[in-house]
Symmetry: C2
Subunit: 266 residues, 2 copies
Amino acid sequence: MKLALWQTQGFPGDVEGNLASLERIAQSAAAGGAELLLLPELWLTGYNLPELIPALAEPADGPSFSRIADIARRNNIVIAYGYAERPSPEQPVYNSVQVVGTAGAPLAHYRKTHLFECMEKSLYTPGDVFEPPFSLGEWKIALLICYDVEFPENVRTHALAGADLILVPTALSPEFTNVPDWFVPARAVENTLFIAYCNHCGVENGLLFLGGSKLAGPDGRTIAAAGEGEALLIAEIDLAARKKAAPTFPYLRDRRPELYTSLDKG
Amino acid sequence: MKLALWQTQGFPGDVEGNLASLERIAQSAAAGGAELLLLPELWLTGYNLPELIPALAEPADGPSFSRIADIARRNNIVIAYGYAERPSPEQPVYNSVQVVGTAGAPLAHYRKTHLFECMEKSLYTPGDVFEPPFSLGEWKIALLICYDVEFPENVRTHALAGADLILVPTALSPEFTNVPDWFVPARAVENTLFIAYCNHCGVENGLLFLGGSKLAGPDGRTIAAAGEGEALLIAEIDLAARKKAAPTFPYLRDRRPELYTSLDKG
C-alpha cells in the first residue's frame, strides 16, 4: 500500500481554505499512487485557536465531512483527517480523527483519550474508548492522536487488537523532539508495526510546530520523514515487513501478561 | 549520587579473573566518588558460554558473593553485578543480578523475567517476580536485565512502584542499536526516571557485543555513554531532575489506567 502524509501549515481558522487545499493535495497524493492520505491533528480548523474552535466544531457527518467525502470519492483515496467534533449543539467538543473511504462513507472514527495540558483539557472532553482497528484491504489500521502515542500502553493495546499500522495525526511543538526521535521508532519496533505520525508545521497563532512527520516501519527504521516545512510524503509500506521483523524483535510473542497486573490499577 | 557503569570485555569463563579485575575497578570508581558500581549481565561468568555456565552458577550467598561483598566493604561502594544463580545443586539456573551494600550485605536481588531466544530459554528458568525497588539513601532503585527493559510494561511497573532509577545489566549485540538509541531514552522519559544500561564489549566465544552503555536522565537525554570499547563511566545523577522533568513530560500523571485493561490478558 502507498501511504501519504501531508505535513502542512494549513489555513488556521479557515475551514474553507483547508478544504480547498485538500482538493489539490488529494489529487497530488492520488496521482502519486497513494491509497490513503493522513492529515494532522485538528487539521480542519487549526490547532492553537481555543477561542475559535468551539464555534468551528462539527458533527462527524457535518458539512465538512460531505466535502471531504466528495474529495475522497472523486480522487479514489482514503482520507484520515483531524477535526474538532461536536455531535450536537448541546454536546461537548472532542478532539477527533475520522477516516473516509473511497466510496465516501466513514470507515473509522476516534476521540482523543489522552488530552495534553490545560488548553486541551479545558477545550475538549476526552474519549473513553480505543476503537478496534478497521480493515483496509489486508491491513488492520488503528487511530491515535498526538499525546496518545507517547503512552506505550495505547500503542500496545492496538497491537494486541491486531493493528498493522497506526495513524497518528499530531500537533507537536519543537521542544518535544523526543516523540519523532525516540517514541515513534520505539513504539513501532516494540510492537513490530507501522506508525504514521503526521504533524503541522510553521507558526499558528504564536505557536511554533516542529514538523518532523515520520513514517516508521516494524523494525523502527524511518521509511519517510519530513523536515521543518510543508511536505507531502508518499511511500510504499509492505505488510510482509511485519513478518520479517518479528523473529528479530519477538516482543509480542515474549510478553508475559501475567506479570503486568499493576498497569491498569488506578 | 555518583553512579559508575563498567562496560567491560571481562574474562569469559574465568570467575577468578573477573573478581580480580573488579578489585581494581571498584577502587577506581570509589576514588572517582561513585557510590554505586553497575556491571553487565552475567558479568561474573561471561554471557555466551552455555556449556560452562551451569557449572559456574552459584547460590546468591555463594563464594563469589563473599568476595564481592568484601570488595564492596573495603571500597565503600555498592556493587550491582550480573551472575548465573543456582540456589542449590538440585535447583534450576537463573539469570540474576544482585546488589551488595557497603556493609557487605545483600541489598536487592532479581531473576530475569523475560528471557531472550533459544540459548537463554534452554539454559535459564525465568523469574516470576518484579522485586519492589530498594532504598539507597533518598533513592528508590529497581532492577531489570537486558531484554526486560525492551518491554515498556516492565519499566512502567517499576515506575508505578516508585522507582527513581533502574539498573539494567545487559549483554547486547550490535544488530540491536534500537535499544540504546531509542528504548533507553524512551523508557527514561516516558517514566521520567533514570536508566543505567551497562553492556559487555568485545567478542566472547564468537559473539560480538555492541558496547554503547548509556546512562539516561528523566528527560531521556544522555548523561553518559560509552562507545565500542572498555569504559568506566562515572557521572552525577540528581534526584531533583525527576521533579524538573515531570511538568514537561507528565506521563505518569496523565495515564488512564482504566483504559489499559487488555495489557495483562493472556
